[in-house]
Amino acid sequence: MNSHLDKLRQSIRNGDHKRWRRGAELDILSECEREGLSWVQRSARLTRRMCEAEQVVIEPGERIVFTRTVQDVPGLYRPADWKRLTQGHKLHELGPISNICADWGMVLEQGLLGRRAIAETTRETRASDCEAVEFLDCAVDTIDAVLALADRYARAAREIGRSDVAAVLERVPAHRPRSFHEALQFLRLCHAVLWMSGHYHCGLGRFDQYMWPYLEADLKSGRLDEPGAEALLAEFFISLNKDSDLYPGVQQGDNGQSLMLGGIRRDGTCGVNPLTYMALRVALDVSMIDPKINLRVTPETDVELLALAAKLTQRGLGFPQYSNDAVVIPGLVKAGYDLEDARDYTVAACWEYIIPGKGMEVVNIGAVSLPAAVHKGIVEGLAKGEQFDRILEHVADDIAAQVKTLADAYRQLLLPPAPYYSVFMEGPLETGRDLSLGLGYNNHGIHGAASSSAADALAAVQKMVFEQKQVPRTDLLDALDSNYQGFESLQRELRGHAPKVGNNDDSVDTLLRWLFDQLADSCQSYGDNGRGGRLRPGSGSAMYYVWLAQGHQGMPEPVVGATADGRLQGEFFGANLAPSPRTKVRGPISVLQSYSKLDYTRICNGGPITIELADSVFRDAEAIRRVAMLIRTFAQLGCQQLQLNTLNVDTLQDAKRHPERHKNLIVRVWGWSGYFCELAPEYQDQIVERHMYALGEPTVAVQVKEISRYDSKKHRSCTDHQPSDLDHIRQPDGRHQGQ
């Protein structure tokens, strides 16, 4: 990275650009009320006023401009009106449409004026349809607002003698970019306005696919050489880190600025191009939390490309996250996606698969707590003296009930109109129907959370209670009820000697697969989700690895106490697909083998296998090549998604003690990367613990015939259930309520 970029990067990390921000909230309520504006009109007005209120900032030397100066996004309704408007409905998270991905390629190709022309044509053909006319006028108004903002930037640039910046903004985003530089500026501005319009978790899609034509033309014509292109790309990546502290999320960094690289094209040919490599190199060079890089791979992907990606993994940024085309695409097809669309998949915010421009999906309507379902089944079955098969039936029933609860709540889903976001999607401008009314795909995603602990608990009961009969039913019931107080040796036995997911042990891996099959069955039999879509099960956990263990205000998902895998009340679950915390495993080969047994074609909502590697693994180029082989092995074994995290426990512990020394320390949290020192303490602790066990003391986990050390007769004491204080996690900033 050259010194200019390094300075820019440092300046953003220091927050120098925040001096331009204005705290005062815009008042758009009064004019909306005075003019009696409808909801969609208010949304468009928001985009317009936010664009108008922006103050032009062009820093010296900056080539890709736009710095947000208006800090807050105002509400569109007074609380009482908002309540009336949304009564009897379900809002998704904060309300506004989020966690989807625009068809950036299409909009770049057409330019905003091209999109505007389509809206105008539709307006003429649908002139008698008041709703369509109103929506299209709103969409056009947002386009005009963005173009006016670009125009102000261009004029200001001319005034200060920055004709280079002016020339770019006189061209884009109005027209199709003529260069890579213009394409990046186009994307930067239009993407930023999405956030200013109240949307969040706005994905960046298949960047190397839609950007390559512009870069290729520049390289061919000699307008740009490779270092020049890399410098521009670096500046673009850095710019994505400017306003991200204003973006809502569960934790800072959870902002969904995900970018996809590689994979096959819509026609089935390999889409890897020079920009795929360049984006990986530049992300390595920039080393900031945004954009979050995803890489699509196949069992045949070039090890050289994987080695470059592994170098990024080595940097400890927590990305790239890898998706296996050979598994994801058939899964999406099976779930009803057209083959060409399935080949065009990207991720929404974290890992959830979505088709750019075609998905108005809500990929995260909640989580099924698999440990809660298993716990309920175990307690009910053991108390009634039933056999293991009956326990499984109870578990299946509870999974179905949890799915129904989540899905039913979303039958009343109210998606606010989104005239600006509609401009970037396939269909709304062509048909006159707002994005919120649906697109080609309208499915709802459900996380199957904390699966390893759930499978471990089932396996423990199957082996210890039923097969070996070494643990009496009442002991286990009492132990679970008392949070293992007075049953410490039973807890050690369950933790240390029951089968665990991650060791390629069929006795527990089969149960893991069974749990996901039940989840898939329940989602399938639920049928239509109320929006012309279906339910999509997945294997992610998001923040539920914390919430399902410790509770969270207002969360409908059940919280479970101590579980039969030996886990104590309140202890975190594993994030996504990972062996339970405190479980010793032999290493990544067995973990991948365990997870290769799932039927991923039935759980296409995504959710990565999460593996922690010690930073000492990456000693030299040869070791990095072996990490590349590990990634290839993940694909060859038929797994779906992989997240490799690299860290040094000593560094993490030092960062807890001396945050001032580790301002730039980046960690992967669940589906996103953030600065370690900016995370809430409980998330910091969970990450430290995760890595301690990843690198922990050596262990033996071969099938060894040995005598149990648990003597049930010694453990008849029973103490009362003692709930611990539930730590509540910081709520997302609520300032976007009321849109």
Binding site: R492, E697, V700
Partner: protein, 259 residues
């Protein structure tokens, strides 16, 4: 069925030989190297290690069949990635028959033996003949010093070094560099001299001392007593080897490595 004693199995051991490997750590060692960072590998008996995470028993008896089955389950992956299985320790040659029984059950996997070289000559040859590659330690050439630092005479080790050269199985010599102890120019020169003209030698690896070496002692009720200055930088003087026409490289010594 023959049973062995192991204290760990570690997958994706990227520093213990070529490709993606799975390393089996065998329990029991005839040496007591003062710098050893795997003291749980010394005794053949199961032991308890205490830590803040609670007590943990290290060392389990495992049948050759079961171990081979586990490793064969990974064989396609190890083979597809230029790797294989590594036997380390402890000293795997203390359980030579067991190691051979396991190797005989493996399905065409590359086998690496990571050894201190301290073993009966016949036992040594018996195991090495079943291996594709050997990592052989040379620590101290001076017999008196060797006796003092490891508790054993180095004559059997040097004898096995020559047997190794005669067997035709390729090998890497690994030298742990402990500041002021094994990294002296006199010792390095003596090692280089001993290796000169030996057939089958691929290269010499100099492994720099890890300051976390003493980490496990307290948990095992033992005391780590370094007689050297742990903060001192080691003398990784490769010239002794390059001058002798030998290939040499320098690496960090890690917690999971044997010896």
């Amino acid at each position: 069925m023959i049973t062995g004693s192991i204290f760990d199995i570690k997958e994706f051991a990227v520093h213990d030989g070529p490709g993606i490997r799975t390393t089996v750590f065998l329990k029991g060692c005839p040496l007591r190297c003062a710098w050893c960072h795997n003291p749980e590998g010394w005794s053949s008996e199961p032991q308890v290690i205490s830590s803040s995470a609670g007590d943990r028993t290290v060392g389990q008896a495992v049948r050759a069949d079961d171990l081979a089955e586990l490793l064969n389950g990974q064989a396609p992956i190890l083979k597809a990635n230029e790797g294989g299985v590594t036997f380390s320790g402890g000293e795997p040659l203390m359980q030579g028959r067991f190691v051979v029984e396991v190797i005989n059950r493996l399905e065409g996997v590359h086998v690496l033996l990571d050894t201190s070289g301290y073993a009966d000559g016949r036992e040594f040859c018996l195991v090495v003949e079943h291996c594709d590659l050997v990592h052989f330690d040379l620590k101290v050439m001076d017999p008196v010093l060797h006796q003092r630092l490891t508790g054993q005479d180095n004559a059997p080790i040097l004898g096995n070094l020559h047997r190794l050269a005669d067997l035709g199985v390729p090998y890497v010599i690994r030298v742990p560099l402990v500041p002021g102890i094994t990294d002296t120019d006199a010792n390095l020169a003596a090692i280089a001299e001993a290796l000169q003209d030996l057939p089958g030698l691929i290269r010499v690896d100099l492994l720099t001392y890890n300051r976390a070496a003493g980490g496990k002692y307290r948990g095992m009720g033992m005391t780590f007593k370094p007689t050297w200055d742990e903060t001192e930088t080691v003398n990784a003087n490769t010239a002794h080897f390059t001058d002798a026409g030998l290939k040499v490289s320098v690496h960090g010594l890690r917690m999971t490595e044997g010896h």
